[in-house]
């Protein structure tokens, strides 16, 4: 394992720690201020500090130290966790996140001077423990802190009230004098342990250190308790101490209190009792039985092997690509066999099933929980709250919903904008809310769920809703809609996505620059998704993003236009029909409309748009496909025939050729032909735009 690998693991552990700390801070803000919640914040920050020190991230270490000092005061009940203190802790948390981002290389090192001095001031307001006070007698606290034991009479007295539920390895290490003489430097061993688990915690017992007059430099006075993640193999820990004499061997055991006097560590001890344990029976009862008895069933399967494997993303993408090729080859094979009249239906069905299974597995590997995106939202809300003076309660649901990694990477920006928009424009000021008979604190709900082969992400606020009169006036003012246009409520709501639209009277740095919502729609559309709004004046608005599960494979309808085969993504298709002559109405010399259920929809000939001359021009003999678009609502595409409906593997045109307007990509069909995948949105917009210009001329 290289230093870089270890650093990467440290960063991952930082992320996890930050997540735990943020959840706990929010829980505290919501009134859940029990010892365990406060402790979990402290532990997370403490772990990050430890790793930062080990890797020489000075700025991070210094900041976490300040942060930890205040947290320790809270934990030790030296001060109460009031709203003002929570605000400081939350701001400090955000800065801590920035520090971690800086190490990752995602951002510059933050300027933490203001918040640092605020933390220092906060810490100074209570009685900071001076070195003299450290010698206070050991107290039976719920957190084992050897610092507190300095000066205590009984060096080995352990607290008995520990109630831990996590599965960690506890390494109790008290080197004998001989170990020091033989080069067993504990600090170097601790560095090796930190390499196994950069987020380990180290507690040192200094109680046995004498005064200078009886000090013997050859003696060993210190003891350590090191807590490592249960995911580290016990053998790997024991191996580090292998060369030490017997009297300096550490005791390694699961969690805290079950110190088994007789337990000796052997490097290759790989039995069930070597599991980290998650529970605590009283020490007396436990001495007689192996700790595995107290472990939950889930842990008895052998945790020495890691339950997860880290895989390079390139390898994963190659797998997905190869599976895509397999899908294509399988379709080719099927076509060839049917052409030869070979009867291999059973085998082909089985191959088809297996290919789909393999494809699903490969796609699942790329899927990640949306949590990584959602976890950034609380901070955005806090920042907008601070800038606007609004008060918002954020409720998050469905964080574990999985979607494709690429979608996750690209959904952050649009989502950020929607959240800012909801708080900045949706939620009213506290006094306005109270006047409207609502609670002073606004509510923003963020949720994600799978529905019908798509992912729905919703941002819902209970604010004032869209002011339709104002939106319409603004849109007319800016020439986005004609002065005499009559729009439905829904159409007015969707005007906020129009390019250059903004109702904000003051341009703020939060939202309201007039580009945001337009960009949201574009970004979502680029992912093959759609965004929609529902809004009720006075009650709030809901923005819904509907996204595809994956960007690599799509359900497509294969249609013939002239001699060409094209693919229409099924997500846009509403219905297909062969019209009767009465349903098609000529509209000027070149255009026609389809009457369907009392509505007239423009018919757009795909062949014309793509320059395919042999395509049918008579709607009465063609197949009409009603598609839904964001910009133009329902429109009708005219094709010659529908050939098939199947999953297609999307190949990027940009990678292999160049971007072509109106074409979303290409795929390889069963017979080896390349078929273009139509970008329904862009193509219909282009045709309609051309017609609008012709009509104006």
């Amino acid at each position: 394992m290289t230093n870089e690998d270890i650093q990467r693991i440290f960063l991952q552990e930082c992320e996890e720690g930050l997540e735990v700390a943020e959840k706990a801070l929010i829980a505290c803000r919501d009134g859940q201020q029990d010892a365990e919640t406060v402790n979990s914040i402290f532990r997370a920050v403490h772990s990050i500090k430890g790793g930062a020190g080990a890797f020489g991230f000075g700025a991070l270490q210094a900041f976490t130290h300040r942060y930890e000092t205040v947290l320790q005061q809270v934990r030790d009940a030296e001060r109460t966790l009031d709203d003002a203190l929570l605000a400081v802790l939350l701001r400090a948390f955000d800065t801590l996140t920035d520090h971690v981002a800086a190490i990752r290389g995602d951002a510059a090192v933050p300027d933490d001077s203001a918040i640092s001095s605020e933390l220092d001031r906060t810490a100074a307001h209570t009685e900071v423990r001076a070195p003299e006070d450290v010698a206070a007698p050991a107290k039976a606290s719920d957190d084992f802190d050897f610092d507190d034991l300095l000066g205590a009479l009984e060096a080995t007295e352990a607290p008995t009230t520990e109630v831990a539920t996590t599965t960690n390895w506890i390494v109790d290490f008290r080197p004998a004098a001989a170990a020091l003489l033989h080069g067993g430097e504990p600090v170097l061993l601790l560095r090796d342990l930190a390499a196994l688990d950069p987020a380990l915690t180290v507690e040192v017992d200094t109680a046995a250190v004498p005064k200078l007059d009886t000090f013997d430099a050859d003696e060993s006075y210190l003891g350590w308790r090191i807590t490592l993640s249960g995911s580290v193999a016990r053998g790997a820990i024991a191996e580090l101490f292998d060369f030490l004499p017997d009297d300096s061997q550490p005791q390694i055991h699961g969690n805290a209190t079950d110190i088994l006097e007789s337990e000796q560590v052997l490097p290759c001890e790989v039995q069930a009792e070597a599991e980290p344990v998650a529970d605590h029976a009283p020490v007396a009862a436990q001495a007689a039985q192996p700790p595995v008895d107290t472990a939950p069933p889930a842990l008895t399967g052998g945790t020495l092997a890691n339950p997860s494997v880290r895989v390079d993303l390139d390898k994963l993408d190659r797998l997905v690509d190869t599976v895509g090729e397999l899908v294509i080859t399988q379709a080719m094979l099927a076509q060839r066999l049917s052409g030869l009249g070979a009867h291999a239906d059973d085998e082909m069905a089985q191959l088809d099933y297996l290919t789909r299974e393999l494809q699903d597995c490969a796609m699942a590997l790329r899927a990640q929980p949306i949590r990584s995106v959602f976890s950034r939202v609380p901070r955005i809300v806090r920042e907008v709250e601070a800038a606007t003076g609004k008060r918002v309660r954020l409720e998050v649901e469905g964080e574990l919903t999985e979607l494709d990694k690429t979608v996750i990477e690209r959904i952050g920006e649009p989502l950020t904008h929607l959240i800012r928009n909801a708080v900045d424009h949706g939620i009213e000021l506290p006094e306005d809310r109270v006047a409207a008979g609502k609670p002073a604190e606004g509510r923003v709900q963020l949720s994600a769920e799978h529905r019908g082969g798509r992912i729905l992400i919703q941002v819902k606020d209970d604010g004032r809703g869209i002011d339709r009169a104002r939106v319409l006036a603004k849109a007319r003012d800016k020439g986005i809609v004609a002065a005499d246009a009559r729009l439905t409520d829904e159409e007015i709501d969707h005007l906020v996505f129009a390019p250059g639209f903004s109702t904000a009277t003051v341009v703020s740095n939060i939202s309201g620059r007039g580009v945001g919502m337009d960009v949201v729609r574009q970004n979502v559309a680029a992912l093959g998704g759609r965004v929609s709004i529902t809004s009720t004046p006075g009650t709030g608005s809901t923005f819904t993003l509907a996204l595809p599960l994956t960007l690599a494979i799509a359900d497509g309808m294969i249609v013939a236009v002239g001699g060409e085969l094209l693919v229409l993504p099924l997500t846009h298709v509403v219905e297909c029909l062969r019209p009767s002559t009465a349903d098609v109405q000529a509209f000027g010399p070149d255009h026609s409309m389809l009457r369907i259920r009392g509505q007239f929809l423009p018919i757009l000939p795909l062949g014309d748009a793509l320059g395919v001359s042999a395509a049918t021009r008579d709607p009465a003999t063609a197949v009409l496909i009603v598609v839904e678009t964001e910009a133009r609502g329902s429109v009708v595409l005219m094709v010659d025939a529908i050939c098939d409906q199947r999953q297609v593997v999307i190949k990027s045109l940009e990678t292999h050729y160049r971007a072509v307007e109106g074409v979303a990509g290409a795929t390889i069909l069963g017979d080896g032909r390349v078929a273009m995948i139509i970008d329904v949105e862009a193509l219909s917009e282009r045709i309609c735009h051309r017609r609008d210009k012709q009509a104006a001329a």
Partner: protein
Amino acid sequence: MIMNPWTLPARLDRAAAAALAPQWADAMPDSGAVTIDASAVERIGQAGWQVLLSAMRTAKAKGTTLRITGSSPAMIESATLAGLADLLEECT
């Protein structure tokens, strides 16, 4: 008699600790303040920390304030690894 501030050597190992302990025991005043300059430290392990902790304990017993100043990066790194960073910070 050693001068205030007491300077730590670059290599604070067992031999250095053995040499410093009797010097410090003699030099520790009965009140007032002692400053230990840790800026030169390049290597410090258990033996070094033990003699420093012993000095802290002796100072505390006498009611003397002991400060450690200018801790070098190596010193801070070692303190963090050994779980002594808080204690070092409190003496800084």
